[in-house]
Structures are given as C-alpha cells and as structure tokens.
Symmetry: C2
Subunit: 358 residues, 2 copies
C-alpha cells in the first residue's frame, strides 16, 4: 500500500486510522457476523453507531439541549432548497450574503422558492474576500440570514461571524469542525460531510429545535426538518455507512482534540501562505485577512505553468491540486485529515518547481 497526498477539495482525504478500522470491520462488524452495511438500521449495533455520531457532533460543537443534530441525505445542495422551503414564507424575504460560488448557489435555489435579499455581494471580486461587517445591510424582519462560512473555490473564509437579528444560518460544509466557535448565535448550521466529517452521502444539520418547529407544515415529510427531529433522523433508512464513517471520523477528532486540530490547521495553512508570500512566482488569490485555512488558492505566472505544476505534482504523489474548473489556478485543500507532512512536501515541490521554471 502506498498512500498519496490527496489535496482534493471534497470528497477529501480521511484519517488513515479511520479507513483501516472500517476495513477491519467491513465483513464482520465486531463479531456480529454482518457488515455494518447489512444491518437493520433499527438493530442495536447500528443504533449505537448512529447515537455515537450524534453525541460526538454535540460534544465537539458544544451544543446545548436547545439544538438537534440531524443527518439528511442530498448534501448541502438539498439544504439550499430545504432551508427556504421550510422557512421562507410567501410574503417574506430572506437575507443572503453572496461571498462566492457556494453562496451564489444557495441564493439561486432560494430564489426558486421565495424572495431573497442579497445584503452584500463580493462573489466575483479578486482578491476573493468576505464582506466587512459595515457592508452588511440586513433586512428588518427577514425570515433568516444566510452565510457561507468558507468558500471552497475562492479560498475566502469568515474569521468571525456577523451578528444578526434574524435567525442566523450557515453553510459550513468546508470548514465545520476545523476550529472551535460559539454555536449559540446560529439557528441552523449545515454541512455536506465530504470534507471534514466523512465520506459523501450525508449532510450534517444542526438546528435549534424552536426554529425547526417553525418550518412549513405542508411539505412532504422528507423535506421537513421536524420529521428528522422527531425521528432521530430515522424516519426512513438513513445512509448508515456514511454515518458510521462520520462516527469514526468525529471519534478520531475527539481523541485528537478540536483546539489542537485548530492549531494544526492554522499552522499548516500559515506555512503554505508563507511559501506563497515569500515568492514572487506564486500569488495568493484571497485577501490576506480572510484567507481560508482549509482551501489555499494561488496562481502561477501563466496557465501553462499552472497546468505543468499540477501535472508534475501529480506525478510526484501530490494529487488533486488543480483549481476548480470555474476559476482555474491551483488549490491545495488541507482539511483536518490532511497530514502536516503533505504540506511540507508540497512546499518543497513548490520551491523546486520555481527554481526550475521561475
């Protein structure tokens, strides 16, 4: 077995220990004589896994009993629709901050459901950034206010969250559990699992119970948050294996420690940004004060050099560095499970590449 350094933006690298445990348990889960994939979701083995996944998230986010931890299929993209379907009334409006590609994607889906007010727009700005507090013109009486905590494509990240009168909702798909934060100001947080939580196939939704209860009552059951609240996300068969992997990944994170993970994430990103800033060959694409600790984006002098950089890096075992097809450039996604060593190897490669081609 030879593992490569996987800079993929998501699905993304998982902790090796987690994969090895899943491998060992694949055919016979803890002497049950079955794979976790083959078990009734209402049986005692899977129920314990499901409960652990919820408890781990609750502990890591420091959630009070006011919140429920839900697991919903369809990724963050289905949340883009469920959120307004539940909470955006026909005669109301919801506030959205347009900070980039993913914020814009959420806005587009919400507009199919109701009225959206864009309270600030820096989607297309280069360098990429999130708005300053002073730029945000919140709508009085808005149904909710939506932000995107980290823009995976542009590499811009909120370093502190805005204060809003309306219920605050965040898409935290690409930086959830990468750093401690106070969940109390949020009415809802959602995140596709496939960056920091586990494999694709499940979205984590943390929701204030009183907010969930305000959701539209006429929707089909699978599109109502209360259905998941009332059934511990087992109204129908949940995506058991994705949730099992999420339980293992959050267990691994608990053992490592969230504060310690945050320091490691900052150090990993800081080293990479220092390598970029210390060179006139590489050039960061996000504004310095909101550079993402998860997705480090940069350009080279030409697109030809960028392509050669990614091709040669791939041959050297540094995979998935190509920027998103919508923006080009280079992107190093360095989520929780991405090893420190891989950052050092990338920096070494960057120096060598600059020496040869700069």
């Amino acid at each position: 077995m030879s593992r490569i350094f996987n800079f993929s933006a998501g699905p993304a690298v998982l902790p090796l220990e987690v994969l090895q445990q899943a491998q060992a348990e694949m055919v016979d889960y803890r002497g049950s004589g079955m794979s976790i994939m083959e078990m009734s979701h209402r049986g005692k083995e899977y129920s314990a896994v499901h409960a652990e996944a919820m408890a781990n998230v609750r502990e890591l986010l420091g959630l009070t009993d006011e919140y429920e931890v839900l697991f919903i299929q369809g990724g963050a993209s289905l949340q883009f629709a469920m959120l307004p379907m539940n909470f955006l009334p026909k005669d109301g409006a919801a506030d959205y901050v347009n900070s980039g590609h993913w914020a814009a994607a959420a806005i587009k889906q919400a507009r199919l459901v109701g009225q959206v007010k864009v309270v600030a727009d820096c989607e297309k700005e280069i360098p990429a950034r999130v708005p300053e507090a002073a730029e945000l013109s919140w709508t009085p009486g808005a149904a909710y206010a939506h932000i995107t905590s980290n823009e995976t494509i542009s590499g811009a990240q909120w370093k502190s969250f805005p204060v809003t009168d309306a219920p605050l909702v965040a898409d935290m798909s690409s930086d959830i559990l990468s750093r401690p934060f106070d969940a109390k100001p949020f009415s809802m947080i959602y995140a596709g699992a496939q960056k920091n939580l586990g494999p694709a196939g499940v979205a984590l939704v943390v929701i204030r119970k009183s907010f969930a209860e305000k959701g539209s009552k006429g929707l089909p059951a699978m599109l109502r948050y209360v259905t998941y609240v009332e059934n511990q996300s087992m109204y129908n068969t949940p995506p058991c294996y994705s949730i099992y992997m999420l339980a293992l990944t959050t267990r691994w994170l608990k053992q490592f420690g969230l504060e310690r993970m945050h320091r490691q994430n900052r150090d990993k990103a800081a080293k990479l940004y220092a390598a970029i800033d210390g060179s006139s060959f590489y050039r960061g694409t996000a504004a310095k004060h909101c550079r993402s600790d998860m997705n480090v984006t940069f350009r080279l002098p030409t697109e030809e050099l960028e392509e050669r950089f990614c091709t040669e890096a791939s041959k050297a075992g540094l995979k998935g560095l190509k920027g998103h097809r919508s923006v080009g450039g280079v992107r190093a996604s360095i989520y929780n499970a991405f090893p420190v060593e891989g950052v050092d190897v990338l920096i070494g490669f960057m120096k060598d590449f600059e020496r040869r081609c700069g």
Copy 2:
C-alpha cells in the same frame, strides 16, 4: 470471521465476495493511493465506477436509449415526494394502487402535493394480496399510475404488472433485479438500494427521458429529475461509496446471471412456502397467488411462540426474522444475496422448533 444468516428486510445481506472486494480496496483503491471515498467524484477512477454502475443497471434491465439511469439520495421515501412534485399538476390527479404499507406511504406523501385517486385498496386485507386486474378502476387522463411491485411488510408481490393508459410508475425497492421483466411499459421505476442493489444511501431511478422532461420547471434543482438526467447524477457530489457498492453488487449479479438468479429466488421461496404449507403449526400470511419471493411472512399459533421462535433462531445464527413492528409475526427476507444454504438451515430450524413446541 463467522458470518450469520441475515434475514433482515433492509438494509440486508450483501454478497460476501462484494464485501471482501470492498474490504481489500478500502485504503488504496487499485493503486490510486486513496480510498474510493476520498476521491474527487469528477476524477477518472470514480467516474469509471459511476459509469459502470449505470451501465450494469442498463444491461440488467435491458433498457433502451429512451431511458436514463439516475442515482438520487433520500431513498424511496424522497421519491414518494419527488414523483408528485414533478408530475402531479394542480388541476390533475394521479392514480395509486394501495397494496399495503409502502403503497400507503407513497399515497400519503402524494396527497400533500396534489389529488390522489386510489384505484384499488387492499392495504389491510389478510391474507395480504395485490388487486386483480378487474378491480383496478383507472382514472382517464391521470397524470400517472403508481404501483408498489412488492410489499416488504406483508409479503405480497405483483406477479404480472397492470396495463395502464397513464404513465406507469413503480416502487420496486424490495424486488428490483430479483427477476427479469419488461421495462418498456414503465415511465419510471425507483428503488432504494438497500435490498437487492447495495447499501442504504442511494435510490436507483430509471426514467423515460420524455417523461422526465415533463416535470415541473419551478422546483429547486435537487428535486427535479431533469437535473439528474442532464448531469449524469453528478449535479452535486453523489453518494460515491453507495454507488461504488451498487456497481460491485450489479457486477456480481451480471456474472451470476439474472435468469439464473430468478430461478434461485423462486426455488428459495418455494422451499420455504412448502415448509409452511406442509405444517399446521406455521401459517403463511399472503395469498398464495401473490406470495413474495423476497419476503416470506408467516405466523405461529401465538405471539409468545413467535417471540420464542425469533429469539431461539437468533441464538442459532438466524438473525432478523422478527416481522415488522406494525404487523408482528415472522418475516424471512431472502433477497438475491441471501444464500440458499441459509434457507435450508431455517427450514431445519422450523421443523425442530415445531417438534419441540408444536
């Protein structure tokens, strides 16, 4: 490792060879240095898996180019909602056959969206059955006609499908790919994967392209079938690992042969029904002409004996035999991957139990 006989109704037993292959490939998929769970869904390795899953389904169901094979999250339960949201207009009606628990669940969700006509109702009949052709009073001009090919809980299965003027739609969650059938009369077929196709976390949807295009245009992208058609089910990150397991499971089925699988399924079920009919202690709960080959349901003289039967069977390595909590009794789910040997062991156990307790 000691595998038990897993009669679970779903999630259900998977082929041992498939699990062993998944285990071997878990940490390093075919020399890529990554797990299939960690890869970009747009990379060449996962794209090949995704394409194989679609091609296997297409081949096994004998689909023409008029059909698209889609993978959608949310299970059959989300299909209960997506189907009427897409195809049931405000001024129209859809026909549903109420053949049992799952048909009733589909009806309940459709009624939240629009007008439903129940063209026949035998939901609560004992013995369980599906309606005769003569009982079905289809509505002229119905938006579509919906059936449930196999009722997992009651153990009643359609042995031939009705002919309808309206587009025919079937929930085939619990018997898809257990037998050959002509897909041409169907406009849409859907099935949660966790019985015959793989693990939970993905639903297979086979849809006639011209039908998909008739879907409501105002819905959020994730709730429109055309979104999946136009993006080969990669509009957003698909549930990659569930689809990988579906690819392996359908590959295994292709190697075994669908006709041969059908014969094996019929033989497995026939042996069990013969054991039931040959005893006055056990009593089948589905009408003989529509007994399911997938879910064999029966009762014992008392609930106490049923509980003792399931407890002792479980100790003997025969797990998951307890009937659904809504109906009680005993249920042996014997999907494609359930081994012939396990049926023989169950019959032996039944004879011994009757001798001791009858």
